[in-house]
């Protein structure tokens, strides 16, 4: 217990978390500090490329684990199943409409790649190893949740079909293509490839992450300022409870798969995290009637900060305890 608190404390005063806090503060204080959209997008391209590449190199040098396929499968199942849990919970805890609840549920089945990046950064800081292919698991978990949510809506209102083009958009969305693509490049070029570009993708990585989280804090803060009125106490509580439930499922899955301590942690982090890029875009197309303030505020304004500050050290401590690592 004390270990967890120390861990959480150390995590809380890391430059990464404090940068997020600074952004949050600036937005809540209505400062005009802002990161241009193009720069934010540039940084996210950098982060996705770096994390994918490093994952590929890790797989190239440690070889394919027999559990790779099973981990991917587990990711898909978690992503598809967690929205059902989230939906039931939301309907019980809050007074969100069926449509809004389904849209929120989709976000919690899917994942937040920045939470994943922050967690792997913490793991590396403590020299805890993890499977390189967890990046691929992250990619695999992006989309299935969307399908579950649409099914939830269809079951209720009868016959809302998914538009053909939407599948294409979801499966080939920029972040998935970049993540998988750079993973493959890292895999193919291996440590030789990494040696050529590591002073770009390894050394400055954590610093870029700080600035990116500064922007995430700004966006979350602006969202909270505008969105706090649309959320009741029940929905807010959901934003903290659901990641814990998700992390529980992720921990179990990781243990069953026999992943390393780091791998179990990341499985928990992925399950606990909620999407705010791919899923919101899909929801605007497929469920335009659902209120974006609700799902964005919950995912970005409540769950993301929770995971970043308390969640990650907690899941890591649980993984350490459970794997004995």
């Amino acid at each position: 217990m004390e270990g967890i608190i120390a861990l959480a404390g150390a995590n809380l005063i890391s430059p990464i978390v404090l940068s997020f806090a600074l952004g949050l503060f600036a937005a809540l204080a209505r400062s005009d500090l802002s990161v241009p959209e193009a720069v934010a997008k540039g940084m996210s391209i950098y982060l996705l490329f770096a994390i994918g590449f490093k994952g590929g190199v890790a797989v190239a040098s440690h070889g394919i684990d027999v559990t790779l396929g099973l981990s991917l499968l587990a990711g898909v199942i978690l992503s598809a199943a967690l929205p059902l849990v989230a939906f039931a919970l939301l309907r019980a805890m809050s007074n969100l409409s069926r449509m809004d609840a389904a849209a929120v549920a989709a976000h919690y089945g899917s994942i937040s790649i920045v939470t994943f990046v922050a967690a792997s950064s913490v793991l590396e800081g403590r020299s805890i190893a993890y499977e390189g292919y967890m990046v691929a698991v992250a990619a695999a978990m992006e989309a299935p949740a969307i399908l579950s949510a649409l099914w939830l809506v269809a079951r209720g209102s009868g016959g809302r079909k998914m538009e053909a083009g939407l599948w294409h958009e979801i499966l080939l969305n920029g972040s998935i293509v970049l993540l998988i693509g750079s993973f493959v490049i890292g895999w193919v070029t291996g440590t030789d490839g990494l040696a050529q570009i590591d002073s770009f993708i390894v050394a400055p990585f954590k610093g870029v992450l700080c600035l990116f989280l500064l922007d995430m804090g700004l966006v979350a803060g602006r969202g909270l300022r505008g969105g706090r009125h649309v959320l009741g106490a029940g929905a807010l509580a959901f934003g903290v409870i659901m990641p814990l439930i998700g992390a529980g499922f992720g921990l179990m899955a990781g243990l069953l798969l026999g992943l390393s301590t780091g791998g179990v942690t990341l499985m928990a982090v992925l399950s606990a995290s909620a999407s705010y890029i791919a899923v919101p875009a899909a929801m605007r197309v497929a469920l335009p009637e659902a209120n974006p303030s609700i799902y964005l505020t919950l995912s970005l304004g409540v769950t993301f900060p929770f995971n970043l500050t308390l969640g990650i050290p907690l899941y890591m401590a649980a993984a350490v305890a459970l794997t004995g690592g």
Partner: protein, 102 residues
């Protein structure tokens, strides 16, 4: 300078719907339009701003200049897309040079 009557249609729509709108326009035979970025705005669903946006959030403005007799086809096509979505459609009378282009 010789000008010709035309209609200027300005459709403000979510960026995620842009391709669906332009596909619908092409389907209705409208092949000329210009897309402007939008910085932010306000409406019934509240305020928003582009700055620092992550992902494909935000809106765009599609400006379409057409011959008056083609207006209804365009509006039908556009309405099919904006119907369930947030967004604004605004039509103005205008005069254009080089009518053969429209």
């Amino acid at each position: 300078m010789q000008t010709h009557k035309a209609k200027r249609v300005e459709i403000t729509i979510e960026a995620v719907m842009q391709n669906r709108l332009t596909d619908a326009l092409h389907g209705a035979g409208v092949t000329g339009y210009t897309i402007l970025p939008v910085l932010g705005g306000s409406g019934r669903s509240g305020d928003w701003t582009r700055e620092g946006q992550i992902g494909r959030a935000g809106m765009v403005q599609v400006v379409c200049i057409i011959r008056p007799d083609r207006l209804d086809g365009l509006l039908d096509a556009a309405f099919g897309v904006v119907e369930r979505h947030i967004g604004v459609v605004c039509v103005t009378d205008c005069d254009v040079l080089r009518a053969e282009r429209f």
